[in-house]
C-alpha cells in the first residue's frame, strides 16, 4: 500500500493525463456495453475520422497554453482558410499551391499576433481576439455563401479509404477504414510530441510556462520562442482549416463557430495546465477523443438533445481544472512544509492549508455538480422515454426497436417488375420499415409492411428525379456503401436506382457514420417526392 502511495506521489504529474485516459476508456466501455452499434470497430475509427482537424488545432493550442498564453483566433483562422482555399480552387489554382499559401497565411497571422503579444506586451487574450474577428470578418469579404470544392486532389485526399489491417479484407476492399487526414493528424501528433519533449525549443516552452521571468534570467530566448509558438499555432490552425475543407469539401465563413471553446476544453481535458508549464501533448490526443466520444455517445443514445454536449463538456472541464488546482495546492503545501522543516521554525503556514481546503471543497463541489448533471441526464432520459411511450403507445420503445433487415429480395423483384427506383427506409425513433418503388409512368408505391400507399406524379417528374440523382454522381465511385451496424435510433437506407441502362444499389446509415454529402442530397430529393405514411 505504501509503495502504491509512493508511486502515486512520485508520479503526480501524470495524474491528470491518466485520469483523461481512464475516463476515455471507461466512457467507451460504457458506450460499448449500452449500445450494440458502438462495438463496431468502425465507430471507434470514426472518432478519429471526425476529429482530425480538432486534434491538429488542439496540438497547436497545447504549445500556446504551455507557455501560459491562449489563442482565441483558431476558429477564425480555420474558417478563413476554408473560404480562401475554396475561393482560390474555384479560380482554378493548383491545389498544392493553395495549401502552401494557406499555411503561409496562417503562419503570418500567428506571427503577427505573436509579435503583438511578445513585443507590445498585449494580453494574449485581447490580441488573439482581435485576430479572430479580423479573420472571421475577412471570410465574408471573400464570400457570403458557402463555396463548394470540386478539386480532384481534395476529393482524393478526402475520400480515399485506408483499410485498417486486421479489420478489413484487402482483396474485396471492404471493412473498417480511416482516411488520409487521420494519418496526417497522427503524424503531426508524433512530430509535436518530439518537439515538445526532445528539443531545446520544447524545453524552453515549458520553462516559459513555469516562470517567464526566470526563463528570461536563465538566458533562454523567451521572445523568440513565444513568437515561434504563436506562429506554430497559426500553422496548425491553417492546417486544421485545410483538413476541414478537405473533409467537408467546401468553405464557408460560418464554419467552426465557437470551435476555439472545443479546442481549449480538449486541451484542458488533456491535462495541460492553463497557467502553463505543465502538461503533455500526448494528453491532448485523449482530450480530443473524450470530446468526440461525448458527442458520439449523445448521438448514439438519441434521447438527449445536442445541448447536453456543451453542458457535459463544461462539467468535465470543471472537473479537470479542479484536479489540476488540487494538485497545484498539494505542491505548494509540500514546498511549504519542506521549507519549514529545513528552517525548523515557525508555525504551520495557514494560507496553503486553507487554500488546500478550499480546493478540496471545490473538487467536491465540482464532483457534486457532475453527479447532479448526470442525474438530470438520467432523469431527463427516463422522462423522455416515458413521454415517448405515453404519447405513442403503439410504437415500440427505442430499446425494443431493432433495425429490421432490408427487404432486399422484395426490392429486387420490384425492380424486375418494372420499377426504376426502389428506396427502403428503416429504423428511426418510431421504428419504421418503409419500402417505396417508383415506376416510369409516374406511379409511386409505398409499403410499410402492413399497408400500402400510392401517389401519382407525371412521367416528367420521374425523369427529373432520376436525372437529379444522376447529376449528384450516383453512378460514380463517390457513392459507396457506408453501411455498418447502426445505432439505436438511426435510419438505415437501401436505395436502388436504374437509369439509362445502369443500375446501382447503395446501403447507408445515418447518425453513426457519414456518407458522402451527395448521398444525403439524393435521399432528401427522394423524400421530397415520395408520399408519406401518416404517423
Amino acid at each position: 500500500m505504501q509503495k502504491i502511495g509512493a508511486l502515486i506521489s512520485n508520479n503526480r504529474r501524470f495524474i491528470p493525463l491518466s485520469a483523461t485516459v481512464a475516463l476515455f476508456f471507461i466512457a467507451y466501455a460504457f458506450g460499448a456495453i449500452s449500445y450494440e452499434g458502438m462495438r463496431d470497430p468502425q465507430v471507434f475509427l470514426n472518432l478519429f475520422r471526425s476529429s482530425h482537424y480538432l486534434l491538429i488545432s488542439a496540438i497547436g493550442m497545447t504549445f500556446v497554453m504551455l507557455t501560459g498564453g491562449i489563442d482565441l483566433s483558431v476558429s477564425g483562422v480555420v474558417a478563413l482558410t476554408t473560404v480562401a482555399s475554396a475561393a482560390l480552387l474555384r479560380e482554378g489554382w493548383n491545389p498544392w499551391a493553395v495549401m502552401l499559401l494557406m499555411l503561409g497565411m496562417g503562419m503570418a497571422l500567428g506571427a503577427t499576433m505573436g509579435a503583438f503579444i511578445t513585443y507590445l506586451k498585449v494580453q494574449p487574450f485581447i490580441a488573439t481576439l482581435a485576430g479572430m474577428w479580423f479573420a472571421r470578418g475577412m471570410c465574408f469579404f471573400i464570400s457570403d455563401d458557402a463555396i463548394a470544392i470540386n478539386d480532384r486532389v481534395y476529393r482524393i485526399l478526402g475520400m480515399t479509404k485506408i483499410l485498417v489491417p486486421g479489420l478489413a479484407d484487402p482483396v474485396t476492399k471492404k471493412g473498417d477504414f480511416i482516411s488520409i487526414l487521420v494519418i496526417v493528424a497522427l503524424a503531426v501528433l508524433a512530430v509535436a510530441i518530439y518537439i515538445a519533449h526532445f528539443t531545446r525549443f520544447g524545453r524552453t516552452v515549458y520553462a516559459i510556462g513555469g516562470n517567464e521571468q526566470s526563463a528570461r534570467l536563465m538566458g533562454l530566448p523567451v521572445n523568440r520562442t513565444k513568437m515561434l509558438v504563436y506562429t506554430l499555432n497559426g500553422f496548425c490552425s491553417a492546417l486544421a482549416g485545410i483538413m476541414l475543407s478537405i473533409y467537408v469539401l467546401s468553405g464557408h465563413g460560418l464554419y467552426a463557430q465557437i470551435f476555439e471553446l472545443d479546442v481549449i476544453a480538449s486541451v484542458v481535458m488533456g491535462g495541460t495546465m492553463l497557467s502553463g508549464g505543465a502538461g503533455y501533448v500526448f494528453g491532448t490526443l485523449f482530450g480530443v477523443l473524450v470530446n468526440t466520444l461525448i458527442q458520439t455517445l449523445i448521438q448514439f443514445d438519441g434521447r438527449f438533445s445536442s445541448w447536453w454536449i456543451r453542458i457535459v463538456i463544461g462539467a468535465l472541464t470543471l472537473m479537470f481544472i479542479g484536479v489540476q488546482s488540487l494538485l497545484a495546492a498539494r505542491k505548494t503545501r509540500q514546498l511549504a512544509s519542506r521549507k519549514m522543516t529545513s528552517q525548523a521554525k515557525g508555525a504551520i503556514a495557514p494560507a496553503p492549508l486553507a487554500a488546500l481546503r478550499n480546493r478540496q471543497m471545490l473538487l467536491l463541489g465540482g464532483g457534486a455538480i457532475i453527479v447532479i448533471v448526470l442525474a438530470v441526464l438520467a432523469i431527463n432520459g427516463a422522462q423522455n422515454a416515458a413521454r415517448g411511450s405515453v404519447t405513442n403507445i403503439s410504437t415500440p420503445t427505442s430499446a425494443a426497436c431493432q433495425l429490421k433487415p432490408f427487404r432486399q429480395d422484395q426490392a429486387a423483384s420490384l425492380m424486375k417488375a418494372g420499377a426504376i427506383l426502389a428506396y427502403e427506409r428503416n429504423g428511426g425513433s418510431s421504428c419504421i420499415d418503409e419500402l417505396y418503388s417508383v415506376y416510369p409512368d409516374g406511379r409511386i408505391v409505398g409499403d410499410d409492411g402492413t399497408k400500402k400507399i400510392e401517389k401519382q406524379v407525371t412521367p416528367a417528374d420521374v425523369d427529373k428525379l432520376l436525372s437529379d440523382i444522376n447529376d449528384k454522381g450516383w453512378f460514380t465511385d463517390e457513392m459507396y456503401d457506408t453501411w455498418h451496424t447502426p445505432c439505436g435510433q438511426c435510419y438505415g437506407y437501401y436505395l436502388t436506382v436504374s437509369y439509362k441502362g445502369q443500375a446501382k444499389t447503395v446501403k447507408a446509415v445515418d447518425g453513426g457514420t457519414d456518407a458522402p454529402a451527395n448521398y444525403w442530397q439524393v435521399v432528401s430529393t427522394i423524400n421530397g417526392v415520395i408520399p408519406h405514411f401518416a404517423p
Binding site: 474577428w133 445541448w307 456543451r310 472541464t317 488546482s325 471545490l362
Partner: protein, 358 residues
C-alpha cells in the same frame, strides 16, 4: 508662466482616462459627419426622439450594461468571459416564466386562449424580472466563488460557464426559441420615454455601480485588490469578498442586459442572444482605459468605450458594410486601440511631449 500652466492642464487632460475614449468617439463622429449625410439628423415622433445617434445609444445599451459590470471585474485583475452566456440564460428564464407552454408545462385550458394575448403573462412581470436577476446573480456568484475561493484563474473559471451556459439556456427552454407576446415586457427594450427606455435602465445600473464604488470604500478596495491582492490582504482588505462582489455584480449586470436584449427582439434565442458580447464588453472596458491587469478604473470611460464600439458598428452599417464583414473592421479597430494604449506607444508619445516641453 502661461506656457507651463497650459501644458499642465494639457497633461491633466491627456492623462485623464476619458481622454482617449472621447478622442476615439470624436474621430468616429467626425468620420460620420463627413461621409454619411444626415447621420446627425434627429426627428421627433409623438414626442420621442429618433435618429442614428439615438440608435447608437439604444443598440449600445446592452454592451454598456455589460461594460459596467465588466469594469469592476477587470479592475480586480480578473475577467468574465461568461456574460454572453449569462445573458442567454437570463433571457431563457424570463421567456419560460412568461410563456411556459412550450416546454410542456401545460397551461390550464382556460388560460390557453390567452397565450398570444399581448396582455397575458404566466407569471407577473415583477416576478419575472426578480427571478431572472436572481438567476443571473447566482451565475455571477458561481464565477466569483470559483475565482475568489477556488483560486482558479479568472479566465478559466468563467470559461466553464461560457462553455456550459448556452447549453443550460437551451435546457431551460428545451431548445425552443420562445416568443414573448407580453407587451409590458417588450417595453424594457423597445419602449421610449423621449429617449429609449433601455437608456434609463443603463443610467440606473450605472448609478448603483457609481454609488457602490465611489460613495463607499468598495471602489478603493477593488482598485487595491487589482493592483496587488496580496498586499491588500495584508492591509486588512478581505480580497476574496471584494472579488466575489465584483463577479456577482457582473452577473447581475449580465442579467439586466439579457432582459433588455430578449425584450428587444421579443424572443429568447439561446443560441444568439449575447453571442460574442463578452468580447464587446471587454473591449469597451479596454477602450475605457482600464488595464487588463487590474487597478484604477473609470465606469464612465467604459460607457464611452461601449459607445465607441456601437458608433463604429452603426456607422459601418450606415455606409453599407455587411454585418459579418464588420467583424474584420472591429478587429482592425481593436488592434489600433491596443497599439494606442500599449506602453511602447505611450512612452513614445510621452517622449515627444517631453521634447516639446523642453
Amino acid at each position: 508662466m502661461t506656457q507651463s500652466k497650459s501644458s499642465f492642464t494639457w497633461r491633466k487632460i491627456t492623462e485623464s482616462k476619458l481622454f482617449f475614449p472621447f478622442i476615439a468617439l470624436a474621430l468616429i463622429l467626425l468620420f460620420d459627419l463627413i461621409f454619411i449625410p444626415r447621420f446627425f439628423a434627429l426627428t421627433t415622433q409623438e414626442g420621442h426622439l429618433y435618429g442614428n445617434l439615438v440608435d447608437v445609444l439604444r443598440n449600445g445599451s446592452c454592451v454598456m450594461l455589460l461594460g459596467i459590470g465588466m469594469t469592476l471585474v477587470i479592475a480586480t485583475g480578473g475577467v468574465d468571459l461568461s456574460v454572453g452566456a449569462v445573458m442567454a440564460i437570463a433571457a431563457s428564464v424570463a421567456a419560460v416564466m412568461m410563456n411556459p407552454v412550450i416546454i410542456g408545462l401545460k397551461l390550464p385550458p382556460n388560460l390557453m386562449k390567452f397565450i398570444n394575448d399581448p396582455n397575458f403573462t404566466y407569471s407577473p412581470l415583477w416576478a419575472v424580472i426578480l427571478v431572472t436577476l436572481i438567476v443571473a446573480t447566482i451565475c455571477g456568484l458561481w464565477n466569483g466563488l470559483l475565482v475568489a475561493y477556488g483560486r482558479i484563474q479568472a479566465m478559466v473559471a468563467t470559461l466553464i460557464l461560457m462553455i456550459a451556459g448556452r447549453g443550460i439556456a437551451q435546457l431551460i427552454t428545451n431548445g425552443v426559441r420562445i416568443q414573448i407576446f407580453y407587451e409590458p415586457y417588450a417595453f424594457i427594450g423597445q419602449g421610449w420615454i423621449v429617449l429609449p427606455f433601455s437608456l434609463y435602465i443603463v443610467a440606473a445600473v450605472f448609478a448603483i455601480a457609481w454609488v457602490l464604488t465611489r460613495k463607499t470604500a468598495i471602489g478603493m478596495f477593488i482598485e487595491s485588490v487589482g493592483i496587488n491582492f496580496r498586499s491588500s490582504y495584508f492591509s486588512g482588505i478581505d480580497e476574496k469578498k471584494i472579488k466575489l462582489l465584483a463577479y456577482t455584480f457582473c452577473g447581475f449586470c449580465a442579467g439586466v442586459a439579457g432582459l433588455v436584449a430578449s425584450s428587444n427582439i421579443k424572443t429568447s434565442d439561446a443560441y444568439n442572444i449575447g453571442l460574442t458580447f463578452e468580447l464587446d464588453a471587454i473591449l469597451a472596458v479596454v477602450i475605457g482605459g482600464t488595464l487588463m491587469a487590474g487597478g484604477r478604473f473609470s465606469l464612465f470611460a467604459s460607457i464611452v468605450g461601449a459607445l465607441v464600439m456601437q458608433a463604429i458598428t452603426t456607422s459601418m452599417y450606415a455606409i453599407g458594410v455587411p454585418a459579418f464583414a464588420l467583424q474584420a473592421i472591429k478587429g482592425v479597430v481593436v488592434v489600433l486601440v491596443i497599439l494606442l494604449y500599449s506602453e511602447q506607444v505611450r512612452g513614445l508619445l510621452h517622449r515627444i511631449t517631453a521634447q516639446k516641453g523642453a
